[in-house]
């Protein structure tokens, strides 16, 4: 069963969000990395880029597949995890820790309301499998 930390919130596109003040840190979930397989390439936006909620801001590629990553909240990119350029496999090893992808300064924290709690995300994964 996929690891789903209690303290994070989740999108149905399998991103996780950690909120500190007006900054949202975003990555992909354990379920997402497991589905992709060996991650070999991560493409992230540039600092200063602006996105609306649900825009694709980058992509994660495994040997076999490409998956776009979507930002669950709109705002300005204020940080990206450059380490993933050289060590994309960290996405498999530590999706919720060292493999954070971007930090977004949120335009509208109200957009977080549409996201799922850990419990709701777990339910969502179960319903997807059925």
């Amino acid at each position: 069963m996929a690891n789903i930390p209690e303290e994070l919130i989740y999108s149905k596109d399998h991103e996780w969000v950690q909120v500190e003040g007006e900054i949202a840190t975003i990555g992909i979930t354990d379920y997402a990395q497991e589905s992709l397989g060996d991650v070999v390439f991560v493409e992230l936006p540039n600092e200063g880029d602006n996105f609306n909620a649900h825009d694709a801001f980058g992509s994660v590629e495994s040997v076999k597949a490409v998956s776009e990553i979507f930002t669950p909240v709109g705002g300005e990119v204020v940080g990206t995890n450059e380490d993933l350029n050289d060590t994309p496999e960290v996405v498999n090893d530590d999706p919720y820790g060292d493999a954070w992808m971007v930090k977004v300064k949120m335009n509208n924290p109200g957009e977080l309301d549409g996201l799922l709690s850990a419990e709701e995300y777990e339910e969502y994964l179960k319903s997807e499998e059925d």
Binding site: D38, F41, K64
Partner: protein, 370 residues
């Protein structure tokens, strides 16, 4: 669930027990990878040994006095060059010279050949072959349900398989085969494969597939860091791509001739076969496109079907591309006009709207040390 409609090999339960992630491949329920993952499976095959279920492949017996002339009429390679116990790579071609399927032709004897064709094309192949029987004195029979096929591949394949058979494997040359027993099971042991490594493909009664699979895993030390690993379709694909071997539907198809796909060596144009005239004309008049290998220069991964650009215009298409786990490069195969096919030439690949530089390189990308 649609899984019910998918065909299964006799090793389906084994794949599930090993944690294989099952996918629909050409109508077959097959493992795309096991828990070790594609990269580990790929590297283990290059460095030690990998085990592949390829029981979904199709088999056809051609038996009778006209077996050799009949298969020679249908295929591009020259079956008269084969001796008993030898196999070769070949293609079934249409009158237009494009490809019905690529295949292996095994010669058991002057009146007995055995064809191994792709899984997804086997029904089409059978109809094509059967429809050309005419007055040839041959018996044709579908044998796909009579065989499992297990590929054991990698530098340790011979030593592992040798522990399970009295047949002297060192005496079987590349693209030759022997009939023997593996773990007491009557088998066709063929020194062939689709990985670019040394190795064998073992054909046997599907009822014995599980015994053979399990015994090969055990003999190969499955579970240890340098032991055999079961490998899924994803590793099978990256291994064949590093070795620049063609995959039907990608480098070959009913719209592509073998000559364009660098397979002139399997087209014996001095012999007569369906499509030979078209191929002779094509050779005389010059190709309009040629299959090349490329390596990404810019950061990014090309994928099957991406467009190839040069000088600001679209010049071709990627047929297969992927990260190459052993070479640690992003590589691909694709068609370009012959004048652009020089090694070292730069091309651009349209990677989801971004034009990324790539360079044409010699193929195969990977060649094992012998």
């Amino acid at each position: 669930m649609t899984d019910q409609d998918l065909k299964q090999t006799p090793l389906n339960a084994a794949h599930r027990e090993l944690g294989g992630r099952m996918v629909d491949f050409e109508g077959w329920d097959m493992p795309v990878q096991y828990p070790a993952g594609t990269i580990a499976e790929h590297l283990r095959t290059r460095e030690h040994c990998g085990l592949f279920d390829v029981s979904h492949m199709g088999e056809i017996h051609v038996v009778g006095p006209d077996a050799i002339p009949f298969v020679n009429h249908l295929t591009t390679n020259d079956v008269t060059n084969l001796v008993d116990g030898q196999a070769h790579y070949s293609a079934l071609t249409y009158e237009s010279g494009t490809v019905v399927d690529d295949l292996l032709v095994y010669r058991f004897g002057p009146e007995r050949l055995f064809l191994v064709v792709n899984a997804g094309t086997q029904d089409k192949d059978w109809e094509w072959i059967y429809s050309h029987k005419g007055d040839y004195d041959v018996d044709l029979s579908k044998a796909s349900d009579d065989y499992c096929q297990i590929a054991i591949q990698g530098p340790k394949a011979e030593s592992i398989l040798q522990t399970l058979t009295d047949t002297d494997l060192s005496s079987i040359k590349y693209y030759h085969f022997a009939e023997g027993e593996v773990d007491g099971v009557p088998s066709l042991i063929s020194r062939t494969g689709y990985t670019g490594e040394d190795g064998f493909e073992v054909y046997a009664d599907p009822g014995k597939a599980r015994q053979l699979w399990d015994t090969m895993l055990t003999a190969g030390g499955y579970g240890s860091d340098t032991g055999i690993l079961p490998c899924g379709l994803a590793a099978r694909n990256t291994l064949r791509l590093e070795s620049a071997m063609s995959l039907y539907g990608h480098e070959l198809s009913d719209k592509i001739t073998p000559l364009e796909a660098n397979l002139g060596w399997i087209c014996k144009l001095k012999t007569e076969f369906i499509g030979c005239e078209a191929l002779r004309d094509l050779k005389a008049n010059g190709l309009e496109r040629k299959l090349v290998g490329f390596e990404m220069i810019d950061r990014g991964i090309a994928r099957d079907g991406f467009d190839i650009y040069s000088g600001g215009g679209k010049v071709g298409v990627v047929t297969s591309a992927s990260p190459a786990p052993f070479l640690k490069k992003n590589i691909g195969l694709g068609f370009v006009p012959p004048e652009l096919a020089e090694t070292g030439n730069e091309i651009e690949i349209d990677v989801r709207g971004r034009m990324l530089k790539a360079q044409i390189v010699p193929t195969p990308f990977y060649k094992r040390e012998r």
